[in-house]
Symmetry: C2
Subunit: 454 residues, 2 copies
Amino acid sequence: MSAAATSLDKSPLSTRAIAEAAKAASRVLAPLDEAARNAALEAMAKALEAAGAELLDSNEEDCSADSCAEGESLAPAMLARLKLDGAKLREMVEQVRSVAALPDPLGRGLDAIELDEGLDLTKVSVPLGVLAVIFEARPDAVTQIAALAIKSGNAVILKPGKEVERTAKVLVRVLREALAAQGLPADAVSLVVGRERAQELLGMHGLVDMVIPRGSKALVEYVQANTRIPVLGHAEGVCHIYVDKSADEELALRVIEDAKTDYPAACNAVETVLVHREIAAEFLPKLAERLRAKGVALHGDATVRDLLRGVEVEAVDDWHTEYGEMALSLGVVGSMDAAMEHIHAHGSSHTESILTEDTAAAERFLREVDAAGVFHNASTRFADGFRYGFGAEVGISTSKFHARGPVGLEGLTTYKYVLRGHGQVAGDYRASNKPGTSKPGEQARTFTHKRVAR
Amino acid sequence: MSAAATSLDKSPLSTRAIAEAAKAASRVLAPLDEAARNAALEAMAKALEAAGAELLDSNEEDCSADSCAEGESLAPAMLARLKLDGAKLREMVEQVRSVAALPDPLGRGLDAIELDEGLDLTKVSVPLGVLAVIFEARPDAVTQIAALAIKSGNAVILKPGKEVERTAKVLVRVLREALAAQGLPADAVSLVVGRERAQELLGMHGLVDMVIPRGSKALVEYVQANTRIPVLGHAEGVCHIYVDKSADEELALRVIEDAKTDYPAACNAVETVLVHREIAAEFLPKLAERLRAKGVALHGDATVRDLLRGVEVEAVDDWHTEYGEMALSLGVVGSMDAAMEHIHAHGSSHTESILTEDTAAAERFLREVDAAGVFHNASTRFADGFRYGFGAEVGISTSKFHARGPVGLEGLTTYKYVLRGHGQVAGDYRASNKPGTSKPGEQARTFTHKRVAR
């Protein structure tokens, strides 16, 4: 643990005690109605506005502090993410209010079945319980995550990166005071700092219901490998675009340019473009010209390098590379089947797109490719909770469990089955209770299993 | 590994090769239409019928074999589960056909959103991929699980208990031949035997998408602790019934008797009954009489033992005990809040029931209790996939992830997002592309985000 973390971490409570308090708080939050949860969010927004000066001061300390024991200073990109100013603070407050305005994710009737007359089953969305969020340098992560948690009736324990600890401590204190002033448990939002605490938190299965790592691939992989708690997130996004022999050339150039250059650091940016052999000789030079003009470094297989002689194209090191920058792998394939095989072998099941005017080929690709998102004639960059219309994005999942693809507030919920009866017992429905068998005079009942319109 | 397992396991393929072949088979199964999957199930049923004599022979060998190296013979209960006869075989065949008759779990449109004109997002149910099922002595588990897997477009790798290895090998061979005769990959159904293979299978994340342990609590806990693959199942069911002060006495006696005695070994049988203090003195003696008459051994807290003087009531050792037999813990609580606190402290989030005529109290219990099933005036024994009307039960989950409570075929599916466009790119929708900014002359498009009726 760093010296900075130790000095900041004056909490007398053990990590277990914090998790237990969060669990208890979650039991209070879960049954609150939507109005009460939205009122809490508005109180949080107001409290953040009121605490502006103190927040900017604590952030100034974070920004000027040496980030680690060796006295190194922060990288410019991290400093930009860390830095708070008036405009960013107003944006954070606005974000809390926009979460309040989202549709209620709780109490939704997901299914309703009449098992028998007077025996009614419903499936209702409920909160998960306690979320643990491990993030890096962004102060806005604190307010966004806390807002999403309260909106969905969950308690949350936040573990910030050490660079943002001072700001996070003030933010969490302000949010806790706002909750308490609403008569709600402050422990609905808690903070732990330091690497040791993070490790302890990952061991709290039974108390913590979901871990959300937000940050680098290394952070996500560390979390996935070190906890039995379900993890929502993804370590990588190696997205592909397959340019079919029947692709519209101009459409393909435009979509690939967007998918690579719109925001190359995003997980939904394209990393590999596979081109059908029949059109490769004509298409690749145009694509190379377009991308080189934008400053994209090209990597290619032997055929690509052959077709692009005269253009600077490095060999592809590893088809599984997520560049996350202005660089792209290019390959030539003999068929759509070969493209799908390549995608299944090297992709991360994030988002895969086919560009073609051949609808039958497109439909086969959409059906057969196994990924969270399968697109036809559209940029991979659309794989995003806001663009999908979810209103908020909790994360993007490349797991097939619980939630897949961009995850909205729904991903912070589970469900329970509610059965309302009038004293029915299972024995009434046994075939052996038919007249003349074990319980003479009683008729065995049969289930009606009528699905009720929602 | 036992000697028996070694001698049976003549497969030249490594566990990884088997898992890779299953993954490849799953890619063929996934896009099959419903008719093709149902035809495969019918072929499986017919092949089982044709192989009757061979199956009974191999089962006879299993039943007469010593179950372990020390030469112990099988316990009668296990022998009953293991034993095949003509009637049980016909039932197994019937079960395969009834799975074929279930509604298709694949290709369901779970959501549909128009992102913009000509840019349509749908959320569609798809198979998980490869299931690994680790089970104990039941031959019928092989056919039931294989049928559920094929119906839901998944490949499955079966690891049987050593007692049933001979029967399982014949069953799987017959099913593989039936699949191959339909032009489908035999590797959609595979078998591995032996403890070492099971351990290897649990390490195959990336190839195996879900593990389903079917058997004892020890088996489930072992699997949960030894794999990074998501596990569907539950280790325990400590179900509670809370008898409120406003309970109907006769209804309560009848429901508790059913919940305890209908099938005490089931995970949805009640283990603890909590009685409100105001009615305890009158209700407990009647309940004790009713349950003692059925042969239920009673355990109680100090108040219960005091109120039931003269009745044989042992002290409760541990409120977390799942008896799984004709035994029950009894406690007295001062309020519904105390009952809910007890349930949250000692329950396993399986199924919890309140018995009361007070609807407001019932609704509060249903809202506030955190469990897969929350019941009012009904026996906990209704927590079951068939009784819920799912047609089949894959298992019961006490996890909050992916699936909770009884799990039907839906639990063997995930979803993918399918986006159909006409060359749209994310850059078109940026605010910074408004006229007068970075791309003069181009209008920034806005998403319509129209939810389309399903």
